[in-house]
């Protein structure tokens, strides 16, 4: 069970308080109608599944009810950082 640092509450809390929100940094296309079916499907369905560094959303559902992002190593499950929505990760795949 993970121990997750909530960047809004500013403390570590048990995974039980959170739910997983999938890959982070996927911007909704500003003009969906301008996209081909294939481009729209890319946004809709296709997600990264890396071995190693993954930026993902978490939701402090039984807590502050805020979404935030985490950089997690999918091999070791180590959470390397958590950061607020709208900011960029300090640790990227190239660093590890």
């Amino acid at each position: 069970m993970l121990l997750i640092y909530c960047p809004h509450c500013l403390e570590h809390r048990e995974e039980e308080e959170f739910s997983y929100g999938g890959e982070a940094h996927i911007a909704r296309p500003l003009n969906p109608e301008a996209l081909s079916d294939e481009q729209w499907a890319d946004y809709l369905f296709f997600r990264k599944n890396p071995r190693g560094i993954h930026h993902e959303m978490w939701y402090h559902a039984i807590g502050c009810r805020r979404y935030f992002n985490a950089t997690r190593n999918t091999v070791t499950y180590e959470i390397l950082e958590t950061y607020k929505v709208g900011t960029q990760p300090q640790i990227t795949g190239a660093d590890v």
């Binding site: 069970m1 969906p32 079916d37 009810r65 091999v75 070791t76 499950y77 959470i79």
Partner: protein, 1005 residues
């Protein structure tokens, strides 16, 4: 009854405290401090069970969690516990135990006949034999399970209670042997919060059976002193009888503490077990090692044991499990067993050492005692039936691969074998650390740490006592430092202990026989599952190469002992057969649980009414008093129907429905989700979430909307009301409320943080009574004077503030029945008052409370969908014939809009919502029934869709159903069929999904 094998020396037991117990129905006596295993051995009980596959008689082999044979059932009835290891069950007065294997009895076993044909049951036997015909598998399985005897389940509810405890600590020390004890002491001294857990009844680990002196005193005395010392630290929690059974992510460890198990079954003095869920800053693993048995022919006959187990029974329990001992070894360590046996006053026939010229300290001690040492020899076969009678020994070559001389027979009744030690790397493996094979110690070592842990002592492959103590101390100091305590320097002097000089051991995983492995009598590797060396070699011949596959094919390590004894030997034999070394072959990964864990402890107190919260509305007691039957909707308890006198459910639902259609009914609709939405951008935000627009919704008005996921599929629906400028109330489905709130928050927080809008769940703040039917207005008028109820001023899809039954309330003219309806929302605490006033006001119209079942019938008559029943996450608004709810011209591309144009969303022949009318009007279609065009076509038939909702409609006097049918909207009037499991099929006509009042005038009056 005499305990034949009880020695005058007591060890750690109290021979003055005699305890009575029964095993397989027969009475015995043991003493306080015994385990069930030591007590059985004291009584000379040889056969304690039968093996899983061949039903061979088996005796006690080990002394701890590695025990493969002595698997027992404790007690009977509701409190019985199956599959315990006798070596881990502490004896108590009145204990009742029985073997789990062995039917009809362990001494006369019908299944033993099968054992005689063992050669006919090679690995994969079950796969090969019982696969066909497939439908007989259930029969086979039943037979196999009965024959195998996996223990019996309790016959009733568990009478015991269990606890869970969440804890944090700075240093968790796993194992209270020499390394663990000194690690805990070093960490404790720094002020760090320390937990030290050990699975045995008392601290000390291997030292409990040791004859060594530490700091000049006997090892057990040293243990007692340091244990007391730890007890004086306020920052130390000592947990004996506590197994750390799982090491999970981010240094989360689970400990099963057996709180009262040792006091008897169903103790009244406290919870039976407690699960500690520990988040540790740092962990020290000091879990010791398991001795490896030697694999030789018929090494499973009762009377063959681990060398260290023989020593443990002698030294710790004062029990000598036999009279004439042969020790078979590949190392110096097992010579200690010969010494212990000799000092117990029993006869050591011989020490059979595979090495030539052994000369370590212990070897010399044995020589000095005049005990025969057969060096360069292997013990190739045990002879006996229910007890060892003889050992066959022969000279072997230095590689240990061949018998090189004549076979000698040694008369004996006990064989102690040692093939070296395997580090207990299980917990380190749980973290994902990959074990590393080390030829010098002939064992795996823990791999590189993946978490904040380090191993110390034997579990790290450091088998010497002195080195183990040193390692433990520095591990404790280091762990404390990394947790923020102390300097990391060891503070206490290293305990003084005699260093024993040992010669190198030999790596010998299979003792050769004078016959080839495939022809030799079975040489068992995994005792519990009867996996033999020949079986592993056969698996290789059949083409298996990967250790993971061989493991599954032969069942090596699949027993309740999880291969603690057999895995290394098995992998080494496999490596040899493949012509690889062990490092190449690799190991399998250990996973939690280290030893079996009861469900009771995992559940703790989260059972019965504490399993899941139940939510009640303010009117709940009224429903109970009126005899309502309830249904669960999420966590809510909702009235299902209100039976009167002896009514059946159908009769009640018919009566309730007719009341609504003909006069007036009342429904508790409190459970509908309600989200209060405020902010200058509220209308814009809501418009982006629903398929239709809310930008022009005026205060006092409501609108029905459908919410899609971004893939265009219906996700929730409900009415949204404009309360005032920038203030809305969104209704959701009962089950969808939490999901919708999270969904709104997701989009606002991650995609459109610039929109100023705030959400509050107010579901529980309001109690809602729906008054519906042609007489609804008359009822409301009697309790509400400050709202003009005339249709012209308070029309359909309007809402008004007012006073109902003296309480400030919101009244919504929205309808889920198709009738004139008022949904009265009152503050929750006034819910029952308002409800009772409405019932009283409606008495003259025979106002009828109705439940969810009638609600479903009424809405289905109107063709109103229920999200999650008529939709399944693959339905668009167009599929539901609800294009009218999609605002095609909305400026902003609302959630899901683009997906409605995807090629799959617009393809022909999608399943569409239609009504079905059975040709036989009283026949109600089963919900979920498949729909076909031709019931006589051969199987597999072409499926056209399925029934989503189906009821008998009392007001229409025929059955009605909603269904999704391929291209259904263009098939009005077609006859389709629903085949049933019994071969019959029901014919139905495709009709409009709106059965009742298709123009909708009744709700507009």
């Amino acid at each position: 009854m005499r305990q034949l094998n009880r020695l005058p020396t007591a060890g750690r037991t109290d021979q003055n405290k005699v305890l009575n117990f029964t095993f397989n129905g027969k009475g015995y006596q043991g003493v306080a401090g015994d385990t069930l295993a030591s007590a059985l051995l004291a009584n000379g009980v040889d056969v304690v069970g039968r093996s899983f596959k061949y039903a061979r008689p088996r005796g006690i082999f080990g002394h701890g969690p590695e025990e493969p044979n002595a698997i027992i059932q404790l007690g009977s009835g509701a409190a019985t516990i199956p599959n315990l290891k006798a070596t881990q069950v502490e004896l108590y007065e009145g204990l009742e135990a029985a073997s789990v294997n062995g039917w009809p009895s362990v001494n006369f076993d019908l299944m033993g006949l099968i054992g005689a044909f063992g050669r006919l049951m090679p690995p994969g036997f079950y796969y090969k034999t019982f696969m066909y015909p497939k439908k007989l598998w259930m029969t086979y399985e039943h037979f196999i399970r009965k024959a195998a005897g996996l223990g019996s389940s309790p016959t009733g509810r568990d009478p015991d209670s269990y606890e869970k405890l969440n804890q944090h600590c700075d240093v968790l020390v796993v194992g209270a042997g020499p390394a663990g004890l000194v690690a805990a002491r070093e960490a404790a001294r720094t002020g760090a919060r320390v937990i030290i857990a050990d699975e045995q009844s008392e601290f000390g680990g291997s030292l409990l059976a040791s004859t060594q002196l530490i700091d000049g005193v006997p090892a057990t005395q040293w243990v007692a002193e340091i244990t007391d010392e730890l007890g004086e630290f306020k920052n130390v929690q000592r947990l004996p009888r506590s197994t750390v059974f799982g090491y999970y992510d981010h240094n989360f460890l689970a400990i099963l503490e057996r709180v009262t198990d040792h006091l008897g079954i169903s103790s009244a003095s406290g919870p039976r077990q407690c699960m500690h869920r520990v988040r540790a800053a740092q962990v020290v693993l000091a879990t010791g090692a398991f001795e490896r048995p030697l694999v030789f022919a018929h090494n499973d006959i009762p009377g063959v044991m681990l060398a260290s187990s023989v020593s443990t029974y002698v030294n710790r329990f004062g029990v000598a499990p036999g009279t004439r001992l042969v020790v078979a070894t590949t190392n110096d360590n097992a010579y200690q067993t010969a010494i212990d046996w000799h000092h117990a006053g029993r006869s050591v026939v011989s020490v059979v050492d595979s090495r030539t010229g052994p000369s370590g300290d212990l070897v010399e001690q044995v020589r000095a005692l005049g005990i025969q040492i057969l060096e360069g020899h292997g013990l190739i076969e045990a002879v006996g039936g229910k007890r060892v009678r003889k050992a066959l020994v022969a000279p072997i070559n230095p590689e240990g691969s061949k018998v090189t001389g004549p076979v000698q027979r040694l008369a004996c009744d006990l064989i102690a074998s040692s093939g070296g030690w395997s580090a207990a790397i299980h917990l380190s493996s749980h973290t994902g650390a990959k074990p590393v094979w080390d030829d010098t110690i002939v064992s795996f070592r823990p791999g590189e740490s993946k978490q904040k842990e380090r191993s110390a002592g034997a579990c790290r492959g450091t088998f010497g006592s002195l080195e183990g103590l040193r390692e433990g101390a520095s591990a404790g100091a280091e762990a404390a430092k990394l947790a923020g305590f102390g300097s990391g320097e060891v503070q206490f002097p290293t305990p003084v202990i005699d260093q024993i000089i040992e010669q190198p051991q030999q790596a010998l995983f299979l003792v050769p026989h004078n016959k080839a492995t495939s022809r030799a009598p079975s040489q068992f590797v995994d005792f519990q599952l009867d996996v033999s060396a020949a079986g592993i070699e056969l698996a290789v011949l059949e083409g298996f190469e990967s250790v993971e596959h061989v493991k599954r094919y032969t069942a090596l390590g699949f027993g309740t002992d999880q291969g603690k004894l057999g895995n290394i030997n098995g992998m080494a034999i496999l490596a040899n057969a493949l012509g690889q070394d062990i490092a190449e072959t690799g190991t399998t990964i250990f996973r939690p649980s280290y030893t079996p864990t009861t469900f009771g402890a995992i559940a703790g107190r989260d059972i019965n009414q504490l399993f899941d919260p139940e939510r009640y509305t303010a009117m709940h007691r009224w429903h109970v008093e009126k005899g309502a039957e309830f249904e669960n909707v999420g966590q809510w308890k909702r009235p299902w129907y209100f039976p009167q006198r002896n009514e059946t459910m159908q009769q009640a639902v018919d009566r309730e429905g007719l009341a609504v259609r003909n006069s007036v009914g009342i429904l508790d609709a409190t459970t509908l989700g309600k989200i209060d939405i405020q902010g200058p951008d509220a209308a814009e935000f809501i418009t982006r979430m629903y398929t239709n627009s809310y930008l022009k919704l005026a205060p006092g008005k409501c609108r029905y909307g459908v919410m899609l996921k971004e893939d265009g599929m219906i996700f929730d629906d409900g009415v949204c009301a404009c309360l005032s400028e920038n203030h809305y109330l969104m209704f959701t489905t009962t089950g969808g409320a939490a999901g919708v709130l999270s969904w709104l928050e997701l989009w606002q927080q991650t995609e459109w943080p610039e929109l100023q809008v705030y959400f509050t769940s107010v579901t529980d703040h309001w109690a809602t009574a729906t008054v519906t039917g042609p007489n609804a207005r008359k009822v409301i008028a009697k309790v509400c004077q400050d709202i003009d109820l005339a249709s012209e001023s308070f029309g359909f899809m309007d809402w008004r503030d007012g006073t109902v039954a003296g309480v400030t309330a919101r009244v919504f003219r929205i309808s889920f029945t198709g009738e004139l309806s008022y949904e009265v929302n009152a503050p929750a605490h006034y819910g029952r008052h308002v409800w009772e006033q409405l019932i009283e006001a409606g008495a003259e119209f025979n106002i009828t409370p109705y439940g969810t079942e009638t609600m479903h019938v009424l809405r289905a008559e109107k063709g109103f969908i229920i999200v999650g029943q008529d939709t399944d996450g693959s339905m668009t608004p167009a599929d539901m014939n609800m294009n009218w709810v999609v605002g095609k011209n909305k400026v902003f591309s609302f959630i899901g809009k683009r997906s409605l144009e995807r090629s799959d969303s617009i393809r022909e022949n999608r399943k569409q919502l239609v009504g079905l009318k059975t040709l036989e009007p009283n026949t109600v279609l089963p919900e979920g029934a498949q729909i076909v065009n031709d019931p006589n076509q051969p199987i597999p038939m072409a499926m056209q869709g399925h029934v989503t909702s189906s009821y008998y409609s009392a007001s229409l006097r025929h059955s009605i159903a909603l269904a999704v049918v391929k291209g259904g909207l263009n098939r009005m009037g077609d006859i389709v069929y629903c085949p049933a499991a019994d071969g019959a099929s029901i014919a139905a006509e495709i009709v409009s999904s709106v059965f009742y009042d298709p123009t909708g005038k009744r709700q507009h009056v």
